[in-house]
Symmetry: C2
Subunit: 362 residues, 2 copies
């Protein structure tokens, strides 16, 4: 991002989240081009941005649809006119949720994740007669949800037996979020999805979609196996992606604009704490986020409304009242804390986007 | 909390935050009685709950006013009729903020933290002629904001020179959030506040209020020095407070109601992740939160919409569709993610409170 006078009257008081639309557009285009070049469909995960205006831009650039994490998110994006949604989650479908899903499926193509024969049975019973299809989730090494790849056929079989169309298989290689893990995680992703596809074929189910991908692994996605990727973070990027080497600083499109409110020695205190940046801090991170344009600074502590930023000897120390641009470690968490994103282009504020799906966790 | 049928139709779909009003009332009364018994004023920090209904209950039980962290929070509570607010933060006051402060000071007594002579000068200039008083923040060992105790007099002097009334001194002993740290932090708090008071007296300023306290240190607060405490978390408590020994499980008044959506071996996956529980995890915590009623379970991983909960051999393994009550590590962070708190009493849902000051970070 450029140097901008965030004290200008058009900006809100700090702290606030700011998106550089020019950088975001470049990120969106680059991922769309990369997917097209290797011949995989792009279905971005909208949990990162939660903003219909951004979803529409992704679709304009060729995304085949959106991925979402919750039914509430799906409803927000369907309301915004997105008509192809994949709810990549092994949802527990109560009667209340079944009614919402049925209503949603009338205005959008909808696929839902399942990862067990029991889940297939329950979903089939709850959604009898609906047009909802399922995607079988497999574990490729992240060890969260997802069945073993060799069990994918049994899950798919159960889905079909319970009246559900099977659209394909998917995985989330979340273990790619670690130094040096991107390529190995992408290889495990391909192996797991390949085994899952074979497992489906062995029971006579041919779903078609083979979906993986995340921002760190997208560049290594094996297009001989995958035909769809679902990165989310790439729209904005964040300190984690920079520290993992997935992107450079010039691809960071979102920051928290914060004001120096106090200082002590070589430490300054910003007014953006964990209630703005989020508290995510993997063991390999260098701190609680980074400062745009001052790569040597370190966020050594975060409390709710304070970031303590250490400046090494020899670096210019900001003064009380100065604004800094803090880059969150995990941008999905930061966006989920904000009601609104301030949008700039070429150094001027051009818009403010409501984070429409914020807090829609159920 | 009691065993409750959270699948009953009056409850929303999981995940959602649930407050047991009976337990909350006991927590509020116990802290009010403790403060009264030792003769200190109670000014609860409302950043924990952000709910006017709870603030009113705290005031009914004898709290002298509220503490808030941001101007936006102050405005929400003033709108709700709270007329005595302490903004415990070294605010950077722009012209826009000065106008908001002046408007706020017309409907509520307002005090604001300062921690430097420069801050006093800026605040005095921005708020010329207003009724806002200041409190001098000192560092008692948490090393965040706050001047050295021996410099408090210089800050207070600068405030008076710039036309600001000085109401007293305060500190936040946040380093009490660690195993075995409560009593030592409380002792440092008392020493710092005592030195700060002496520093004020040496320049002829007699503020009157000597304010400290946090939930972990409140029970050890030295009433020979302090005459006000500002705990916040005690209203609900959380996994951190249980693990620090500040409270027992029977004082935990808030949980995230979550559903088991998947399992693998002895691990089950809940639908409440870091976007519901928050990602706070101090090094001494046993995991990403706790499970109410199942103390041996451990939240070994949190992603945005998944909590991975490990159940030791010999414990009953919940099944897909079962609901569990996850206790966040840091309740302030969890509440700040929710738009609404579901309220139960005697096992039945009685209300839903809007988290009115959620996201009001500026």
């Amino acid at each position: 991002m450029e140097q901008i006078d965030f004290a200008a009257p058009e900006f809100p008081s700090t702290p606030f989240l700011c998106v550089d639309a020019g950088i975001m557009d470049r990120n969106l285009s680059a991922m769309a081009q990369r997917a097209a070049a290797v011949g995989v469909a792009l279905r971005p995960h909208a949990k990162t941005h939660k903003v219909p205006q951004i979803a529409r831009r992704q679709l304009e650039l060729g995304a085949v649809g959106l991925t979402v994490a919750t039914l509430g998110e799906a409803e927000v994006f369907a309301d915004a006119g997105c008509t192809d949604l994949f709810l990549a989650y092994p949802l527990w479908v109560t009667a209340a949720r079944a009614a919402r899903i049925t209503a949603l499926a009338e205005r959008s193509r909808l696929r839902i994740g399942i990862d067990s024969p029991e889940g297939a049975h329950e979903l089939g019973r709850a959604l009898a007669g609906s047009t909802v299809a399922v995607m079988v989730e497999v574990d490729s090494g992240h060890h969260r949800s997802g069945c073993r790849p060799e069990d994918a056929g049994a899950v798919a079989w159960a889905a079909r037996e319970n009246g559900l169309a099977v659209a394909g298989v998917f995985t989330f290689p979340g273990h790619g979020y670690g130094p040096g893990n991107r390529a190995p995680a992408a290889a495990q992703e391909a192996a797991a999805l390949s085994a899952a596809s074979a497992s489906l074929a062995a029971v006579g189910v041919h779903g078609g979609i083979v979906s993986g991908g995340s921002t760190p692994t997208a560049a290594s996605a094996d297009a001989t196996v995958l035909n769809e990727i679902r990165p989310g973070v790439y729209v904005f990027n964040d300190a984690q992606q920079v520290e993992l080497g997935t992107c450079g600083w010039d691809a960071v499109a979102l920051c928290a604009v914060a004001t120096v409110v106090s200082s002590s020695g070589r430490n300054v205190i910003l007014d953006a704490g964990s209630k703005v940046l989020g508290a995510d801090q993997p063991p390999w991170a260098t701190g609680g986020g980074r400062i745009l344009g001052i790569p040597e600074a370190r966020i050594i502590a975060l409390s709710e409304h304070h970031a303590t930023v250490a400046f090494p000897d020899g670096t210019a120390l900001p003064r009380r009242g100065d604004t800094l641009q803090a880059v969150p470690n995990h941008v999905c968490a930061a966006v989920n804390l904000a009601d609104e994103l301030v949008v700039i282009r070429d150094g001027a504020m051009i818009d403010a986007w409501a984070v429409a799906a914020r807090g829609r966790n159920n």
